[in-house]
């Protein structure tokens, strides 16, 4: 019932993962999604991954996701609206 955003796991170390949310990287716990692996997409809420996401469905659901998850020059120049 809360704010959660999709992110891509960059690396995992034990229970903690570095996740990329559109160019913002933060460390979150994967203790609630123990099957998550690097390059998987997860739903991030309050410092935890609460669900794994199917990548294709994620792109359909959140239309602002770009392919790499990082700002590309094209994104920076071309993006409008929020």
């Amino acid at each position: 019932m809360c704010l959660a955003v999709p992110g891509r796991i960059i690396e995992i170390s034990g229970e903690m993962a570095l996740v990329d949310v559109q160019g913002n990287r933060t460390r979150i716990s994967c203790v609630l999604t123990p099957d998550a692996r690097p390059n998987d997409w997860v739903l991030v809420h309050a410092g935890f991954a609460i669900s794994q996401l199917d990548e294709r469905l994620a792109r359909e659901t959140w239309d602002f996701l770009d392919s790499s998850g990082r700002d590309s020059a094209a994104d920076v120049e071309g993006h409008r609206g929020f």
């Binding site: 019932m1 959660a4 809420h45 935890f48 609460i50 199917d54 469905l57």
Partner: protein
């Protein structure tokens, strides 16, 4: 995107027309409340559809006694309060955590429960109390952090347990029978944890459709269209329109964590009273972490301002404008009740966004629009005859 949404809105309008009476839906998620207002969705929906905001904002439904306990803890010398930002401005009987911070209390906003634990690890000489509020989306994080505290033998970390469960509140509302509802827009992220089948009792006992929705504007309108379609054909079933993240059975690992650390208990909800089996309390083996006995604090009784109608608002019985205090003694700057404090509260969202509604939608008898910009309030704050909830000098 806009054309998809406008197609869906047409579907909704046509459906509502065919139904031939007013359709009333309730959304039970504060994040849905905000998203609906932020994208201006109400301005798109037809007049025959009334979208009511239910008790879905965990801040709004946190009982005053828990706020007061948090404030009492904040006043204890040396205690560090770690809290989600949502809680900082909620007024208790004696002000808010924000005001306590001004008076010298150590109140820190954290984004994650883990940050609260890390605070405790970094300051072993000081007790750190984490305000554990939120619904099923957030409670597993608290459970995980309690278990981590055990593993790491952290002895100065405590929680004020105030988590709540959504479905029992929905059922209590329906049992009360005072709010006619045609359907529920169900919270996508709670459902990630609980699974879509959690809403089975609502559908089976009350024959009310439940559609689980994500938070993008397109998702929400699509879910509304699905609800209205069910109403039109007389169906009442669970529909999961957030399959990217929600399954039928939910996140087992999260559920296991919850079950390990917490057990279900009766819980006080603001202005709704005590709802059976709607809260989470620490299991006996984790009682060490309970801040209340540790600091010798007893939960007091709730004392709601007699004029404050937050309880009715969060049940959907009353629209914010129908509350006499709305905009007249209760504003986002000087809130009386939590519906106005929380950025997700119905009244707060209403106050900020409502003037975008077409004129004919405004309830009859409303005074001049009290939008937030450039308009005088009809009474100045503080002139309200009723005592404000929580003394705010």
């Amino acid at each position: 995107m806009a054309s998809d949404v406008s197609d869906l809105v047409s579907d909704v309008s046509e459906s509502v027309e065919r139904i031939g009476r007013r359709v009333q839906l309730m959304e039970v998620c504060g994040t849905h409340t905000v998203s609906i207002f932020r994208h201006g969705l109400r301005s798109l929906l037809p007049e025959g559809l009334r979208l009511v905001s239910g008790p879905g904002c965990p801040v709004c439904v946190t009982a005053q006694r828990h706020i007061d306990a948090a404030i009492e803890l904040a006043r204890r010398s040396g205690v560090v309060i770690a809290t989600y930002g949502d809680m900082v401005r909620v007024p208790g009987r004696c002000g808010s955590l924000e005001e306590q911070r001004g008076a010298g209390a150590d109140v820190r906003v954290v984004w994650s429960a883990r940050s609260a634990l890390e605070l405790a690890v970094r300051h072993p000489q000081r007790p750190v109390v984490f305000l554990a509020v939120g619904f099923e989306t957030t409670a597993p994080a608290t459970a995980a952090v309690v278990l981590e505290a055990v593993r790491r033998s952290v002895e100065n970390f405590f929680i004020l347990a105030a988590h709540k469960l959504v479905v029992p509140a929905m059922l209590a509302l329906l049992e009360g029978g005072s709010v006619p509802l045609d359907g529920f827009l169900c919270p996508g992220h709670v459902s990630v944890v609980t699974g879509s089948r959690a809403y089975a009792p609502v559908v089976e006992r009350f024959s009310i459709p439940c559609v689980i929705a994500g938070f993008e504007p397109h998702d929400i309108v699509r879910a509304i269209a699905a609800l209205v379609r069910q109403v039109e054909v007389g169906e009442a079933r669970i529909e999961n329109l957030y399959p990217v993240a929600v399954t039928a059975s939910g996140n087992h690992v999260a559920q296991t964590f919850l079950d390990r650390v917490f057990r279900v208990c009766d819980a006080p909800w603001l202005a709704l009273g005590v709802i059976r089996e709607s809260g989470l309390e620490l299991r006996p083996e984790f009682e060490w972490f309970d801040a209340l006995p540790r600091f010798g604090i007893e939960l007091g009784a709730d004392v709601d301002s007699p004029a404050c109608r937050c309880g009715e608002v969060i049940q959907g019985k009353v629209m914010p404008e129908e509350c006499e205090l709305f905009g007249a003694g209760c504003t986002p700057l000087r809130p009386v009740g939590p519906c106005m404090v929380s950025s997700e509260g119905t009244c707060s969202a209403w106050y900020k966004y409502r003037a975008a509604m077409p004129v004919h939608r405004r309830p009859v008898g409303t005074k001049q629009p009290m939008g937030p910009v450039g308009l005088k309030l009809l009474t100045e704050p503080g002139m309200c005859a009723q005592p404000a909830r929580g003394s705010r000098s």
